[in-house]
């Protein structure tokens, strides 16, 4: 049952990821090819029809997938690196510094992703980078909070005390004792956050704060299709389904990973 989650999740992610990778080699139409005619219905050469400008929707969908996956990977990288770094720092810090970091994290968490994104976009213009940075920063706060708690747990263990008494340097303790003990939980959390990041990017694009055109992200496609939902429903459904499938895939994978990483959860009643 549990293994099923992992398999289903990986399958979804792999299929979408594969399609996106394939898009670098082959697309039915070039992304900026406007030869298709306005809002052509699905069928024939255009499997999902075309948008207002006559661009092939299926090709747009594949290219949009690059953005979705790029956001997930980018945000997880930013969030993971910064989060773990600050979490370690806070975990090891003196009480005073720890309080300071805790306050900073609270503030960062209190600044909802969207507001952060709006500020970053206001500063640097709407771009995929700005959206990824905003989502990554918001994620970093959550990951740091988690890491801090985990580090504190590990540090209170006897084997760390023993290592410290025997004179092993802090960097080595981090590498040999702390990181190996916290990474499974952090990783699973990051996987869950990746799903949220994809959704956040879609919401940002919907509000016009995400990836700028001509690179239509799925959120942007949804936004644009909303006006034509009566005349071209597929344009609204396709990016939505792709988005939902990807997020479910990521979440299921995260669930499955959690069970692998934390066998105590797999208890039976």
């Amino acid at each position: 049952m549990r293994r099923l989650h992992l398999i289903a999740g990986l399958l979804l992610v792999t299929v979408i990821g594969g399609a996106v990778l394939m898009s670098y080699l082959w697309l039915p139409f070039a992304p900026d090819d406007t030869s298709g005619g306005r809002l052509t219905p699905p069928g024939g050469d255009h499997w999902l029809g075309t948008d207002k400008l006559g661009r092939d929707l299926f090709s747009q969908l594949l290219v949009g997938g690059r953005i979705a996956l790029g956001t997930a990977l980018g945000a997880v990288t930013v969030g993971g690196l910064l989060g773990v770094l600050f979490g370690l720092l806070a975990g090891f810090a003196s009480r005073w510094l720890d309080d300071a970091v805790a306050v900073a994290l609270d503030i960062l968490i209190a600044f909802p992703t969207l507001l952060l994104a709006m500020l970053i976009v206001a500063g640097f213009g709407a771009s995929l980078g700005a959206a990824v940075l905003a989502i990554g920063l918001a994620m970093a706060a959550i990951v740091a909070r988690l890491t801090r708690i985990l580090v504190k747990q590990v540090l209170s263990k006897d084997f760390v005390t023993a290592a410290r008494i025997s004179g092993i340097s802090w960097p080595r303790i981090v590498l040999t004792h702390v990181l190996p003990n916290i990474w499974p939980v952090v990783l699973v959390n990051l996987a869950l956050q990746a799903g949220l990041a994809v959704l956040a990017e879609a919401s940002l694009s919907y509000l016009g704060l995400g990836t700028p055109p001509p690179n239509a992200s799925w959120g942007r496609m949804l936004f644009e299709a909303q006006a034509t939902v009566l005349t071209a429903p597929v344009a609204a459904i396709a990016p939505g389904v792709a988005l939902v499938a990807l997020v479910i895939g990521i979440n299921l994978t995260a669930d499955g990973l959690r069970d692998l990483a934390d066998p105590t959860r797999r208890r039976s009643r």
């Binding site: 909802p112 507001l115 919401s203 479910i248 979440n251 009643r269």
Partner: protein, 317 residues
């Protein structure tokens, strides 16, 4: 407990002060000019310079900062650079939309999530437990604005039972219309939020169901519901409350999008507009209020957690 309260309150205030300063600096570092929102094509350079002088945005940053600090110290959030209206009352006028929207959405989400999450765990071995879990998984993957648009097209455009958006001009002095206006947005928030809550409730319930004390209680002859009621609820409550606090805080994110979908005059739409216009006093005011709200909710959540599970109090560092 008292020491804990003092410490937390001090931290809360420190966070707020820090957030205020950080925000002021960040906003001024960003490129942008509120004068741009006031002018249109045709304005001359002289007009632009005069407008800057008038708004005071050409003054040195330190001067602007001190002026703002002085205002905030006297609970004055200043006036909008664009509409000229005082920020405090403007925020107060928006709260009757945002607060009920967020709170009602949150409460409804909890009302949905607790029983569903419990059932999903309790019946994990049957067909309906996993089904409920699957529905929650699906809910977790759907963007909030999509749910909103769907509800609008069904209940407003097709069935015509609820308004598609907007808030009555009369506000809460027309309670029926206000409740109607908020119904779909609240349901949207609740559906989206409950999806993630269900997962936590389910996990917490699974933990409790597998715990030793519950087995002991049952071995001693309690029925399962009675044992759950007496022991399980309290044990499951603490972690769920912790998650709830964070969720309530992040509802604000969802609320901004939902306000946009449903054309509601709440804090979120006020903020979006203020940011695009670089209306600094308004951005600072809204952010200060929302940061305070989020931090305060976190604080209350901590407190509630401790009341629910007194062991945490004793164990506090």
């Amino acid at each position: 407990m008292v020491r804990y309260l003092i410490r937390r309150t001090a931290l809360l205030l420190a966070s707020l002060a820090l957030a205020g300063v950080a925000l002021f600096v960040l906003l001024r570092l960003l490129p942008g000019d509120p004068v741009n929102a006031l002018l249109s094509v045709g304005a001359t350079d002289a007009q632009i310079a005069a407008a800057r002088r008038e708004l005071g945005t050409d003054a040195p940053l330190a001067t602007q900062f001190l002026a703002w600090l002085g205002d905030v110290a006297t609970f004055d959030l200043g006036s909008s650079l664009i509409s000229r209206l005082p920020v405090g009352p403007e925020i107060a006028a928006r709260l009757p939309v945002t607060v009920p929207l967020t709170l009602a959405g949150f409460v409804l989400a909890v009302l949905i999530a607790v029983p569903v999450g419990f059932l999903a765990a309790y019946r994990a071995d049957r067909w309906d437990g996993p089904l409920l879990n699957g529905v929650a998984q699906l809910g977790l993957a759907v963007p909030a604005f999509w749910v909103g648009l769907l509800l609008v097209s069904v209940f407003a455009l097709n069935l015509r039972v609820l308004p598609a958006g907007g808030f009555p001009p009369a506000g809460w002095s027309d309670p029926a219309a206000s409740v109607e206006a908020l119904t779909l947005p609240v349901i949207t928030i609740a559906l989206v939020m409950s999806a993630s809550l269900i997962r936590y409730v389910r996990a917490a319930t699974l933990d409790v169901l597998g715990s030793d004390f519950l087995r002991t209680a049952r071995a001693l002859g309690s029925s399962l519901p009675a044992a759950m009621w007496r022991h399980g609820l309290r044990n499951a409550a603490a972690p769920v409350i912790a998650v709830l606090a964070i969720e309530l805080a992040t509802t604000f994110l969802g609320a901004v999008v939902i306000e946009s979908v449903f054309a509601l005059p709440g804090l979120g739409s006020m903020l979006i507009r203020a940011i695009s216009q670089r209306d600094y006093p308004v951005i600072q005011g809204v952010m200060l209020v929302s940061t305070f709200a989020v931090l305060a909710v976190g604080f209350l959540g901590d407190l509630a957690q401790r009341v629910a599970d007194p062991r945490l109090l004793r164990g506090h560092r």
